[in-house]
């Protein structure tokens, strides 16, 4: 079944079908400009937005999935080359981190292997003053946003829950409780709007997370307060083992947008050109005051949920192979090479960059970081409580006695 965005004109609606017109704002302005109905603007285009086909060739304009109100200009060459570089780095990061887990250097790593186009586009579409709210699977996006790779991986290293300063980088914590971070994105955008700042916030989650209540509350709050938040759903088809069909029977996740009074769009999540085209325009419109946007990227989690998961229990290898042919890195390399934008010298330079990042990760995660037991108490509150001071002293005493006992037994052993 093809879900069409073609609806009867508002004038033909019977009284009991009459809908509430949204308030006059930038969105209705946009709708007027495109000459389509509000619903047609809010509903995703009839087809997935795809600019570069899996074989690396540019789709003819009429096959890019666009239609009035859903037209996306091709990003500039410079942005595309930067994106490709980050794709290669991102793939190397994913593979390096998986190796570090196998070597026991990290507790766990939820890899975004296969989803690198989404990761890269999420970071590159934002300006310096903008915010990103990632999940635990978005380390590559966090790094592409400029966070130090080792600091981005600290969450999985085992010595603390996070490594970077969210305020410095305007990147939220890599959030584990599903979709709770979408509301934080809404709050950051709301505060910025109240101060008259033109901050745009990109809030990331996966397909499974759209079942959570906070997904609903965040989209509704963003729409009601007309906030510049882009909800970016990486539909990678699985929530650990549970396929999308068990999460939602909506025509698409992007179709949920219209229920909140915001626009939604579906995009090929393995086509970084299309992702950048859609997200760049989304960021621009949000900054201009058109309110929130829901973007669903169709991608695929090529590896298991984490190293602790066995994906052969719930999916066929043929399905994985099918997606391997749609690989985002290969696709972009073929496209850029075909356009003469990428040559072997460029490839070598980018590969060297990726290798340098991998080396940084190996070195940073390979070293044994000393932990300070007193850190347990240091950061619970801004203003320390007497009870925690007492417990901190108790632990210090325990450790001092342990150290003294060790020292005296060593003395005795001499």
């Amino acid at each position: 079944m093809t879900i069409s965005a073609n609806h009867a004109a508002p004038g033909t609606a019977t009284p009991d079908q009459a809908h509430q017109e949204p308030p006059e704002n930038a969105l209705t302005e946009a709708v007027k400009k495109f000459g389509i109905t509000v619903e047609d603007y809010m509903l995703p285009a009839r087809h997935l937005i795809q600019m570069v086909a899996p074989d690396g060739t540019l789709n003819p304009k009429d096959q890019q999935g666009t239609e009035p109100g859903h037209e996306y200009p091709l990003p500039g060459d410079e942005e595309l080359l930067a994106a490709y570089e980050q794709l290669v780095v991102g793939r190397r990061v994913n593979d390096q981190n998986s190796a570090l887990v196998r070597q026991g250097r990290m507790a766990v790593y939820p890899s975004s292997h296969g989803q690198e186009a989404c990761q890269v586009a999420a970071a590159l579409c934002l300006s310096d003053g903008d915010w990103m709210f990632p999940t635990y699977r978005d380390a590559v996006a966090v790094m592409a946003r400029g966070v130090d790779p080792v600091q981005a991986m600290t969450i999985f290293r085992g010595d603390w829950h996070g490594g970077y300063d969210p305020l410095e980088h305007k990147v939220g914590i890599q959030c584990t409780p599903l979709t709770t971070q979408l509301l934080h994105a809404v709050g950051v955008a709301h505060a910025a709007k109240l101060r008259g700042e033109d901050t745009v916030v990109l809030a990331m989650c996966g397909d499974g997370a759209t079942s959570e209540g906070d997904f609903h509350e965040a989209l509704n709050f963003a729409a009601v307060f007309h906030l510049p938040v882009i909800f970016f759903v990486q539909n990678n088809k699985y929530a650990i083992s549970v396929p999308l069909a068990h999460q939602s029977v909506a025509p698409s996740l992007a179709h949920k947008a219209v229920g909140y009074g915001m626009a939604g769009e579906r995009v090929d999540g393995n086509d970084v050109v299309a992702l950048l085209a859609v997200l760049d325009r989304g960021v621009k419109l949000a900054r201009e005051g058109s309110g929130p946007l829901l973007v669903e990227a169709h991608t695929y989690r090529m590896q298991a949920h984490t190293n602790a998961d066995d994906d052969t229990r719930y999916r066929e290898s043929a399905e994985v192979a099918e997606w391997r042919a749609k690989d985002p890195v290969t696709r972009m390399r073929t496209y850029l090479t075909g356009r003469g934008l990428l040559d072997s010298a460029g490839e070598e330079r980018i590969a060297a960059h990726a290798e340098a990042v991998a080396r940084t990760l190996r070195e940073g995660l390979g070293e044994d970081v000393p932990v300070d037991p007193q850190d347990l108490f240091r950061h619970v509150f801004e203003k320390q409580t007497p009870q925690l001071k007492e417990q901190s002293a108790m632990l210090a005493d325990e450790l001092a006695r342990d150290a003294a006992a060790t020292a005296s037994s060593e003395e005795a052993g001499k």
Partner: protein, 370 residues
């Protein structure tokens, strides 16, 4: 865009802009001068007005807090005085309210949010437990969350189911949250101002049955002493109050149970027993020193709370006092709490709630014959 909204200069200090002072006309009109009977509701309302006047990053939002002024009228007049950008209604979604407040606090604001009733806060539990309580620790203090979650709580108002829970133990049990609960009108004002000025997140539990109780206070002088006193570090956080001095035994209470404990002490005095009443005020951080000083002096103690006794703040208080004061005790510490049953229907709550007689029975049990 309101030109008056700036960023808190206190928390998350990488953001610019100084605290905007003034707009004090609202505060000035909020109360007449001199001591007079004031309700707890009015004191809380005045604290909100003063905090919003003092710092334009203070925002109030929740359900029905705007035009209506809150179902208990605690936010009455704030939207009219400060505008819809500073005090506003949200969609009806508690997790959304807390989650959005987290984001606003990350981005320089000091949100003061209202959970309409104790039991209506439960949808927000994940945001409170997993983020409000943990953000500071998780980020090694790089991200502070200076937000206040106001929770009208407790029974005694003839409320129907889900409107009378004593939910303080859930929050007190969670590392990373501070939990305040005032019992007097003056503390209502002081403690809410302190909670709003705190860079740590505070769950502010308001005993709803005391909203309309009155004390004679001078709000203008409370304001002046608070604004002078904060710099001197003389706060209520972690400082229990001796609500009534005594020598023979100690009644330890908080929030809605403090007036009940005072009434019991008064009744006991007629029988010749001098009971000291301690108002805990902040459950987290807990003031071991004041409580233990009293118990060491009197040698006997009863802990009083509306909440179920099992695995509760009252059990924690008994454990702490016993650990610290064992050799001073003439009798085991007793508790008078709600029974371990779901909060009862209005016609049954008088059997459930700790009352003067039940407290006096517990006091009688403190082995006076020894």
């Amino acid at each position: 865009m309101s030109p008056t909204i700036t960023t808190s200069s206190e928390a998350n200090g990488n953001v610019s802009a100084a605290t905007a002072r003034a707009a004090a006309s609202a505060a000035a009109s909020a109360d007449a001068s001199g001591p007079q009977p004031v309700t707890l509701a009015k004191a809380l309302n005045t604290a909100l007005v003063d905090a919003m006047s003092a710092d334009s990053s203070v925002l109030v939002f929740g359900e029905d807090v705007g035009t209506l002024g809150g179902v208990f009228r605690i936010t009455d007049g704030l939207t009219a005085t400060f505008g819809e950008q500073r005090c506003f209604d949200t969609p009806l979604a508690e997790s959304g309210i807390v989650g959005m407040a987290v984001g606003m606090a990350i981005n320089g604001m000091r949100p003061v949010i209202e959970m309409q009733f104790d039991a209506f806060a439960y949808p927000a539990f994940e945001q409170i437990i997993s983020h409000v309580a943990k953000m500071h620790n998780r980020t090694r203090g790089m991200v502070k969350l200076p937000l206040v979650i106001r929770v009208p709580y407790g029974g005694g108002i003839g409320g129907v189911e889900h409107h009378c829970d004593s939910s303080e133990s859930y929050y007190a049990h969670t590392a990373g949250l501070k939990v305040y609960t005032p019992a007097t009108v003056a503390d209502g004002y002081r403690m809410l101002r302190e909670a709003i000025d705190s860079d740590d997140p505070v769950v502010f539990m308001e005993p709803k049955k005391l909203y309309w109780s009155r004390d004679v206070v001078d709000l203008a002088s409370l304001r002046a002493s608070y604004e002078e006193g904060t710099t001197a570090g003389l706060g209520t956080e972690g400082r229990a109050a001796v609500a009534r001095p005594g020598t023979d035994g100690t009644l330890i209470a908080y929030g809605p149970s403090v007036p009940t404990a005072l009434a019991a002490a008064e009744a006991a005095s007629l029988e010749g027993r001098s009971l000291e009443v301690i108002d805990v005020r902040t459950l987290v951080p807990f003031d071991d020193a004041t409580v233990c000083e009293s118990v060491r002096k009197t040698g006997r103690a009863v802990v009083i709370a509306e909440a179920h006794g099992f695995a509760s703040v009252s059990s924690e208080i008994v454990a702490r006092v016993q650990e610290r004061c064992f050799h001073y005790l003439a009798a085991p510490i007793r508790r008078v709490t709600g029974f371990d049953v779901p909060y009862p229907a209005p016609k049954l709550e008088k059997y459930y709630l700790p009352g003067v007689d039940r407290i006096l029975d517990a006091v009688d049990d403190l082995q006076w014959e020894d």
